[in-house]
Amino acid sequence: MNKTEEKTKEDIVEVDKAFEPKIMAYVCNWCTYAGADLAGTGRMEYRPNVRIIKLTCTGRIDPLFILKAFENGADGVLVSGCHPGDCHYTTGNYHARRRWIAFKELMEFTGIDMRRVHFSWISASEAIKWVDLVNNVTEEIEKLGPFMEYKELKR
Amino acid sequence: MKIPYYPGCTLNTVAKPFDESAKASAITLGFELEELSEWNCCGAGFPLTNDNIMGLAAPTKVLANARAAGETVTTLCSVCYNVLKRTNKALNDDKERKATINEFMELEYDGSLNIVHYLEILRDTVGFDKVKEAVKRPLTGIKVGAYYGCMLLRPGGEVGIDNAEAPTIIEDLLSALGCEPVDFPDKIECCGAHLAMGKTDVVERLSGKIMTSAIESGAEVIVTSCPLCQYNLDKSQEKIKSSDAGFKTVPVVYFTQLLGLALGQSEDETSLKDNQWDIRPLLAERGV
C-alpha cells in the first residue's frame, strides 16, 4: 500500500463527521474514464467524493455544465480528458482548451473561486495520476470549505 | 535626384578615390550623393554580443541622423552597409531593444530607414542597361574578377545584397561597362579583415589564396567594394612578391573607379595613379 492510500484511509474515518466535499467530474470516454477504470482494476484507493459524468470528449463540455454542478451543490469540479495531441477526435480537446480561457472570465464574473475548478489531462494509462488528482482536489476543496455562494444566490 | 549618403570613416580619408569616383559617376547617371551633414563612425563591425546593447549605439546614431535627412541612405563601404543594415534589422526585430537604445539617443530613431548600397542603386534605381547606355569608354576585353568578401553578402537573411553563395551583382555591372567578368571560386571568402593589425601573415595567406584563385581563373584586375579588402589585397601582394618571385601582381581597384573610367572620367579623376598596383599599363595595352 503506498503512502497516498494510507493517508486517505485515515482521512475517510476521520472526516466521517466533518465536511464531505461534493465533487463533480466531467471526463471524456476515451482517456480519463478509462484511466479511472484502470485505477479500479489496479485496486488503488482514493477519496470517494467524486461523481463522474462520462462524455464523448472534453470538447463536448459546455462551460455551463460546470456552473450547473455548482448550482446543484458541488463544492468543486474536475474536468479531464485526453492529453493535447491524443484526442480521440483529433482536435476536440484543443477546442475545449480554447473554451476554458473564455470560461475563466465568466467564472470569475459569477464569483466562483477558480481554485474550485480543476482541469487536467489524464490518459487511459495514468491511473495513478487520476488517484492523485482526486485526492489532491478533495483535500484542497476541504480546505476551501463548502461552496455556499451559489446556493445562497439560488435562494 | 539627391540621395543621402553616409561615407563612413575610411572613405573620408584613405579611400578617397572610392568616394570621389562614385560621386562623379552618380552625377553622370543622374543622381547625386549628398553627404549627411552630421555623422559618426558606425563601429566597423556589427556587435556580436547579445547582452550588451551599447555596441549598437554608434550605428543607431548614424541611422537617426540619416533618417532626419531622408527615408533612404546609401553607403559605399561594404562594412558600413553591413553594420547599418544589421543594426536596423536588430532594432526592428526587437522593439524592446529599440526602446532601450533610444533612451541613449539625442535624436530618436524609429527604425524606418531604408539602407541601400550604391550597387543596389545602380541595379534597381538606375538599371544596368541605363548604365550601359551611359558608357562612353567601354572597357572591352578587360578580364575582371569581382571580389565580394564577406560583408556585402552575409548573413544572407540580414544583409543580402544578392544571393549570398553565388552573387552576380558586381559582374552584371562589369558586363554593362564592357568588361569581361571572371567568376572565381574564392570571391566570397574573407580577406583577413582586421587581422591586418598584427596578424599580417594570416592576412597574406587568405588574401593570397583569393588572388591566386582570381588570377588562375583568368582575372587581370580585381575590383572590391571595401577599403579594408582593398588594403589587404594590395598589401599582401608586396609581401608575397618578396617571398615568391613567380607571383605576378594584379591591380586591385574599387568598382567605382572602373565605373568612372567607363563613364568618361579621366584617369586622374578616378585616381588610378593612387592604386598600389597600376592598372594603367593594362588599359593602355588593350587600348581602352
Binding site: D37, Y46, L55, T56, G59, A69, N72, G92, H95 | -
Partner: protein
C-alpha cells in the same frame, strides 16, 4: 410514467464486499419511474442475462440500468440482451459501481461504497429517463475503391484490393504508372534491379480485370463520405485514342521534335509524342501539347501520317469522368528538393553535381548512358565521386528539419554501384550520422565501407566549387580533430531531401485530410492507425506520409488495402447513432460549429422556397462524416445543435440528480 428497471450486480464479492447492493436496489425502488429493481450475483453470466431479459418482458420495462462494472466492459453485452428482449438498446445504460466505486473505496463497513453507488445509479436514472430510442444507422457501401497515385505503393494497394475481388480505379497524373521506383537502378538492401521487380507488378495491374487505370489524369473533386464518395476526375487529352493505339512506337520514332525528358530528370531528351520510359504502362504515348507544332501552329502532323491504326487525334479534349467509390487510398508519393536549393553546393551551375535520383538514372541500364557511369558534362568516367548526405535534410536553417530516412541507404548503394561499374574509382561519403535501422541495413552499409572501399567522412560539406575542371569539395572530418578536408572530385552526388509533392497541401484540402508542417499527410494516429486519416474512408499509403523505402511503401499499400477490404466486407456499414443534429428553427447560421468540427462534417446549406430563392442558410450535419465528438454542441451559442445519446437534456438531468 416511465417503467425503469434497475439491476444491481454483486459481481460475486467484487462489488458486494464494499457495496450493499440490496440496499441500493431497495432505495432505487422508491424513486419515481422505477418499476423494478433487484440485486444479483453475476449479471453477465448466462443465467444473469436470462433473468435480465425476462425481467424486461415480465415487467414491461421501457428502460434499464445495470449498476455493475464499467460500461467499457459489458455495455455491449447488456444492450444486446435488451434488444433481444425487445427494448431499444440505447434505453439501456450501465452505472459503473465496480471500477469507479467498489474497487477503489475499500471501506468494509460498505458505507462509502453504498452511498456512492446510490448516487451514481440515481444520476444515471435521471439521464436514462431522457434517453431517446436510437437506431444504429447503416449506410450502404459502394464496393469500389479509388487509388490516387500509381507509384509502387499505390500499385500494391490496387492489386491487393483487386485480388480481394473489389473493383479499383487507379488514377495517375503521369502518362505511365510506376512512380519514382521506375527511375531506380538497383535497390537496397538486396540489390535487385528495380525494373525487374516493378515491371511485373505494373503489368499485373494493367491486366487485372478488377483494375481500371486512368493515366494522365487528376482528381479534381471529392464529394460524399465513407462508403459513398463521388469523384470527379480530369483526364487530360493525350491526343491518342487509347482504344486503338497498339503501342507500336512508329509515332515517336518519327516525331522530329524533342524536349527534356521529365523521367530522365533533364539528363536526356524525349520526343514530343512519347511514353516516359520503355516499360510504360499503359504503353500508349501522349503528345506534349505545348511543344507540338501541329497542335500549336498546325504544322508537322507526321505522327498521324505514320500511325497505322490512325490513333492520333489532334482534336482530343480534356475529359471529365465521374466515379462512385466507397474508399479512397492516397498514394501520391514524394519528390526531391529542387536543384536550385543548394547554392553552396554549386547545384545548377556545376553540371557534374547531380541529385541521387539523377545518379540512379546514370547507373540504370535503361538510363541515358546505358548504365555506364559517365559525368553529364563531358561523358568522362569519373575517377572519384563525392557523395554528400543530408543535403537539405536535417537543416532547419535552409532546408527541412527532418531526416529523409532513405538517403543513408541509397548513398551506400550508390557507392557500391559505382565500385561495381568503375573498379578503379574512389568514392567519398560525407555523413553526419548513418541511419541504417532496417533488416540487414547496417550490414549493407558496412559492406559498402569494408568490401567496396567507400571512404566515409563524418562531417558536413561547406562548399563545392569548380577549379581547373575539377570539382573541389571543401568540408570537414569531425573525427580527425575537426580538420578541414578538401577533395578533388570528378562528380558530386547530393543525397537530397525527400519532400512532399508540390501542391500536396491544396490536394489535402480537396480530400479533407490533414497534413503536417512539412506538408506530409497526417495519419489518424502515428502508431496505432498509421494508414487511416481523420476522414473515415480515406486511407494513406507510401511516401505521401513521409520518407520511406520500398518495403515500407509496399507494406503500407497492403495495410491500406486491408482497411478498404474490411470496409467492403459487408454491403452496409453500421454507424453508431451518436451523431449531431441541427435544430433548423433556431440555427442562426453563425458557422461556429462548422469551424469547430474536427471532421468537416457540418456543411453550410441553403434552404430554398418553391421559386428557388434562398430563404435561409443553415448548418447541416452529414451523418456519414460525423464521428459524434460533440464539439459542435458546446460551440453553438444558440444551443441549436445537439448530440444524440449525449443531449444537453440528458447531461443536465444527470447533473441535477447530483
Amino acid at each position: 410514467m416511465p417503467r425503469i428497471g434497475v439491476f444491481v450486480c454483486q459481481c460475486g464479492n467484487n462489488i458486494e464486499s464494499t457495496v450493499d447492493t440490496q440496499k441500493v436496489a431497495d432505495e432505487l425502488k422508491e424513486m419515481p419511474g422505477v418499476a423494478y429493481t433487484c440485486s444479483y450475483k453475476f449479471m453477465c453470466s448466462s443465467p444473469g442475462q436470462e433473468m435480465f431479459k425476462n425481467a424486461i418482458k415480465d415487467n414491461d420495462l421501457d428502460g434499464v440500468i445495470v449498476s455493475a462494472c464499467s460500461p467499457h466492459m459489458h455495455e455491449k453485452t447488456f444492450r444486446k440482451a435488451s434488444e433481444a428482449a425487445g427494448l431499444n438498446p440505447y434505453k439501456c445504460e450501465v452505472a459503473n459501481i465496480r471500477e469507479q466505486c467498489s474497487w477503489v473505496h475499500h471501506d468494509e463497513t460498505k458505507k462509502v461504497g453504498t452511498v456512492k453507488s446510490l448516487d451514481l445509479t440515481r444520476m444515471m436514472l435521471e439521464r436514462l429517463k431522457r434517453n431517446k430510442p436510437l437506431k444504429a444507422t447503416s449506410i450502404p457501401v459502394t464496393k469500389k475503391a479509388l487509388v490516387i497515385g500509381g507509384g509502387i505503393s499505390g500499385i500494391q494497394a490496387a492489386l491487393d484490393i483487386a485480388d480481394g475481388g473489389v473493383e479499383v480505379v487507379l488514377v495517375e497524373r503521369e502518362p505511365s504508372i510506376g512512380g519514382n521506383m521506375a527511375r531506380l537502378s538497383e535497390t537496397f538492401p538486396t540489390m535487385d534491379c528495380s525494373q525487374c521487380i516493378l515491371t511485373p507488378k505494373m503489368v499485373e495491374a494493367d491486366l487485372h480485370e478488377n483494375i481500371k487505370i486512368l493515366t494522365y489524369a487528376e482528381v479534381e473533386k471529392v464529394d460524399g463520405y465513407i462508403g459513398n464518395f463521388t469523384i470527379t476526375i480530369n483526364k487530360k487529352a493525350k491526343y491518342v485514342d487509347e482504344s486503338t493505339c497498339t503501342g507500336c512506337g512508329e509515332c515517336w520514332e518519327k516525331c522530329p521534335f524533342k524536349a527534356d525528358s521529365e523521367f530522365e530528370l533533364g539528363l536526356n531528351k524525349r520526343k514530343v509524342i512519347y511514353t516516359p520510359f520503355p516499360q510504360s504502362v499503359p504503353n500508349i504515348p501522349v503528345i506534349d501539347a505545348p511543344k507540338c507544332p501541329k497542335i500549336q501552329k498546325d504544322k508537322c502532323g507526321l505522327c498521324a501520317k505514320v500511325c497505322g491504326p490512325g490513333s492520333i487525334d489532334f482534336t482530343q479534349k480534356d475529359e471529365i469522368v465521374t466515379e462512385h467509390v466507397g474508399a479512397i487510398i492516397v498514394a501520391t508519393g514524394f519528390e526531391l528538393m529542387p536543384n536550385e536549393h543548394f547554392g553552396e553546393y554549386g547545384y545548377g551551375k556545376i553540371k557534374d553535381v547531380v541529385s541521387g535520383l539523377q545518379f540512379e538514372r546514370l547507373a540504370s541500364s535503361s538510363g541515358p548512358t546505358g548504365g555506364k557511369i559517365e559525368r553529364p558534362s563531358d561523358g568522362k568516367t569519373p575517377e572519384s565521386i563525392v557523395f554528400i548526405q543530408c543535403a537539405g535534410s536535417r537543416d532547419e536553417a535552409k532546408g527541412v528539419s527532418y531526416c529523409s530516412k532513405i538517403c543513408c541507404m541509397y548513398t551506400a548503394k550508390h557507392t557500391m554501384l559505382y565500385k561495381h561499374k568503375v573498379h578503379e574509382g574512389k568514392s567519398y561519403v560525407f555523413y553526419m550520422d548513418i541511419r541504417a535501422g532496417g533488416k540487414r541495413y547496417e550490414e549493407f552499409v558496412r559492406k559498402a565501407i569494408e568490401d567496396d572501399g567507400a571512404m566515409y567522412l563524418r562531417g558536413r560539406v561547406s562548399r563545392v566549387y569548380e577549379k581547373n575542371g575539377k570539382i573541389m569539395v571543401q568540408g570537414v572530418d569531425t573525427l580527425s580533430n575537426g580538420q578541414q578536408v578538401e577533395i578533388e572530385a570528378d562528380m558530386v552526388v547530393l543525397a537530397t531531401a525527400l519532400i512532399s509533392r508540390k501542391g500536396a497541401d491544396s490536394f489535402a484540402q480537396k480530400l479533407g485530410i490533414g497534413y503536417d508542417k512539412d506538408k506530409f499527410y497526417s495519419e489518424y494516429h502515428p502508431k496505432l492507425k498509421p494508414v487511416e486519416t481523420v476522414t473515415a474512408g480515406i486511407y494513406l499509403s507510401g511516401t505521401c506520409v513521409g520518407p520511406m523505402d520500398i518495403p515500407e511503401s509496399v507494406s503500407m499499400g497492403s495495410a491500406a488495402a486491408s482497411k478498404a477490404l474490411g470496409l467492403f466486407s459487408s454491403d452496409k456499414m453500421a454507424r453508431e447513432p451518436i451523431t449531431a443534429d441541427v435544430n433548423k428553427t433556431t440555427c442562426n447560421a453563425c458557422w461556429d460549429c462548422v469551424t469547430a468540427c474536427p471532421y468537416t462534417a457540418i456543411a453550410k446549406t441553403e434552404v430554398k422556397d418553391r421559386e428557388g430563392n434562398i430563404v435561409q442558410m443553415l448548418a447541416e450535419v452529414n451523418v456519414g462524416l460525423c464521428q459524434g465528438c460533440g464539439v459542435c454542441v458546446a460551440a453553438c451559442r444558440s444551443k441549436s445543435i445537439d448530440l444524440a445519446g449525449y443531449t444537453d437534456e440528458q447531461v443536465y438531468a444527470a447533473i441535477n440528480a447530483f
